[in-house]
């Protein structure tokens, strides 16, 4: 669409009838900025007209593109390559800490880190869940759901014990992780995952919690060992968090149980979902207008069998965001922080850390 022109310019241009030729004048006339018109009715009319023009042009372009593609297919040529829309994930700022597949340092680090013993199945995970000092309305139900999601988890009431004492106690009783659910204003709002014996402490902010009973058509989870799906943990930090989450679950999933727990990282938000799935075959008939396969099967409609997975959601649904990752067990005063979220990290919309 026409470029933005200054108000004074456009008015001046309109004044110069003689010096410009008609075309240019017409073009300039159509480039009146709505903001330069003082009358509200007229201004909204101009704006509406502008929008309509834009819409019409866009539609024309789309039609032209579709027609060109169709033509190319009919002629048997390669259609023009489809344009990829730009998304935030596409345009993400390049991060040098992204894990590369052939990174020896990463493997060595993985061997030597705190989770390797669990992930190598030397220890089976045993989780202790507790709360902050004041419990809340939604806290206990959330905790009971967590207990059903994570196998081999135990719940203890908090009392007024210091967190450091709790860590000691858990070490004595051979737990592998502690999860502390923190509530604020009667809603759980933070999760603290402490690896043991000297594992890192990850502090997550919890939001959008939906309990099982509030989900429509929810399913009831069985007690089979779940499968784990961890998506999109790309950077080194993300990788570490991914391993932390992995160490909460036992390493021998029961595929027959068809239970899947997903932690999906998108733009630094980790979405938790818990499903039961089933594979089914779906017969879909190919119609001519669809895709390239239509060429092979002209005329006959193939009953093509597709395998699809269907999910039934069970269990809670929530979102986590990492606030800080501290090396060693919980020690806010003397601990060494590996990563802390600072507000200045939010300044760019295309920069993510996990």
């Amino acid at each position: 669409m026409g470029g933005k022109r200054k108000k004074g310019e456009s008015e001046g241009m309109e004044g110069d009838n003689d010096s410009k030729n008609n075309n240019k004048k017409m073009k300039q006339k159509s480039e009146i900025l709505p903001s330069s018109v003082k009358n509200k009715e007229k201004r909204s009319a101009v704006h509406a007209k502008l929008k309509h023009q834009k819409k019409v042009e866009k539609r024309k372009k789309l039609k032209a593109r579709d027609a060109a593609e169709k033509r190319a297919l009919e002629l048997g040529e390669e259609p023009a390559p489809k344009q990829i829309p730009r998304t935030i994930e596409n345009a993400r700022e390049a991060d040098e800490t992204v894990c590369m597949p052939d990174d020896e340092e990463l493997f060595a680090g993985n061997d030597a880190d705190e989770f390797s013993s669990i992930l190598k199945r030397d220890r089976t995970p045993k989780i202790l869940i507790t709360t902050c000092r004041f419990n809340s309305t939604r806290g206990p139900s959330f905790i009971s759901e967590l207990l059903s999601v994570i196998p081999n988890a135990h719940y203890n009431k908090r009392g007024t014990y210091d967190l450091k004492k709790i860590v000691e106690y858990a070490n004595n009783k051979e737990f592998t992780s502690i999860i502390v659910v923190h509530t604020n204003r009667r809603e759980p709002d933070a999760l603290l995952i402490i690896g043991l014996p000297d594992g890192p402490t990850a502090h997550f902010k919890l939001s959008s919690l939906v309990l099982r009973k509030d989900i429509k058509n929810h399913g009831n989870p069985t007690s089979h060992m779940p499968e784990l799906v961890l998506n999109n943990f790309t950077t080194r930090l993300g990788h570490r968090i991914g391993r932390l989450i992995q160490s909460l679950f036992p390493q021998d999933p029961n595929f027959r149980g068809r239970r899947v727990v997903t932690f999906h990282n998108q733009r630094d938000f980790i979405f938790f979902r818990h499903h039961r799935y089933v594979f089914e075959t779906k017969e879909s008939k190919q119609s001519d207008s669809k895709g390239k396969k239509a060429k092979d099967a002209k005329g006959e409609s193939i009953a093509k069998e597709k395998v699809v997975a269907r999910l039934q959601e069970c269990g809670p649904r929530f979102t986590l965001k990492l606030v800080s990752l501290q090396h060693g067990t919980f020690d806010t005063k003397g601990g060494e922080y590996e990563w802390v979220h600072k507000p200045e990290m939010d300044t760019s919309r295309r920069r993510f850390f996990l």
Partner: protein, 289 residues
């Protein structure tokens, strides 16, 4: 004394900047006041001979003022450091305020008691951990909520999970459990009756395949029914790098005919060779950006 009376009359009835009246009584904000109440006998301005105890960084000091120094405001208050021990402090007070009015001495000792108790309690409390309340500006909270919503929309979770599961199915992790597509399974069952032995055998090729860096190194576990799981990392899509991986994982591939039956759940299955090993996940990586 005469001077004191005049002072008291003036400040009590006119204006005293240290006085604060609240519903329960009249209090004095003067830091040198022993009891804290606005009283004729407790007012440090209206008594030329006065003493208090004040606390500085956990150390108690006895402050005394006498009429001899009333004209030297700079040197008005004489300070004596009190010992940490409560009884010894009481003795020191007694010694310094020996010939002073009993009422005042009594009030001072009461104050000392109160302050020692407070000091003990404060130190005990400092040892305990207390939750610190941090505030987040509203702007940030709203911004986070907005971003979370958009992120959730961008991550079409159900589709992603389904894709992931299908990919795992393709990869052969669930071999032996499912037999999809169903029709082909029926066909192979029919052919199965013709060639019984061929498919009963497990034709396994032992392939050394490099695993994805995301996957843990695991030992070769060849027990039946032992299954592993692995992380899927959608960003890494380097199939070529498999060969150079450090992790060498043994993968057992099934023979072609057996591969036709990833499938629906069956109650009984013909053969149960589920030697699913640690597979490499690299093949299935796709960038889902």
């Amino acid at each position: 004394m005469q001077h004191d009376e005049v002072i008291w009359q003036v400040i009590r009835h006119k204006h005293c900047s240290f006085m604060s009246k609240i519903s329960t009584g009249i209090f004095c904000r003067n830091p040198y006041n022993v009891t804290g109440i606005c009283n004729r006998s407790s007012c440090p301005l209206a008594n030329s001979r006065y003493a208090t105890i004040r606390d500085h960084d956990g150390v108690f000091y006895l402050y005394m003022k006498t009429i001899e120094r009333a004209h030297k405001p700079n040197d008005l208050w004489e300070r004596v450091k009190l010992p940490r021990n409560y009884e010894k402090a009481l003795e020191v007070i007694g010694k310094h305020l020996m010939y002073w009015p009993k009422l005042l001495v009594h009030k001072i000792k009461q104050r000392l008691t109160k302050m020692t108790q407070m000091r003990i309690r404060m130190r005990k409390l400092a040892l305990k951990t207390r939750e610190k309340i941090m505030t987040t500006p509203r702007k940030e909270k709203k911004r986070e909520a907005r971003r979370e919503e958009k992120a959730e929309k961008a991550a079409v979770l159900d589709k992603t999970i389904e894709k992931e599961l299908l990919a795992r199915l393709e990869n052969g992790i669930y071999d032996g459990i499912y037999n999809l597509p169903f029709n082909k399974f029926i066909e192979t069952l029919d052919t199965d009756e013709l060639q019984a032995e061929d498919e009963n055998e497990e034709e396994s090729e032992v392939e050394y395949v490099e695993g994805n860096f995301e996957l843990e190194e695991e030992d070769d576990i060849e027990d039946m029914g032992m299954k592993n799981y692995h992380i899927s990392n959608d960003e890494v899509a380097d199939d070529d790098d498999e060969e150079e991986e450090v992790n060498a994982v043994k993968v057992r591939r099934r023979s072609k005919s057996e591969k036709d039956e990833p499938g629906k759940k069956l109650k009984k299955k013909p053969r149960i060779h589920v030697e699913v090993e640690h597979e490499n996940g690299a093949e299935r990586q796709k960038a889902t950006f």
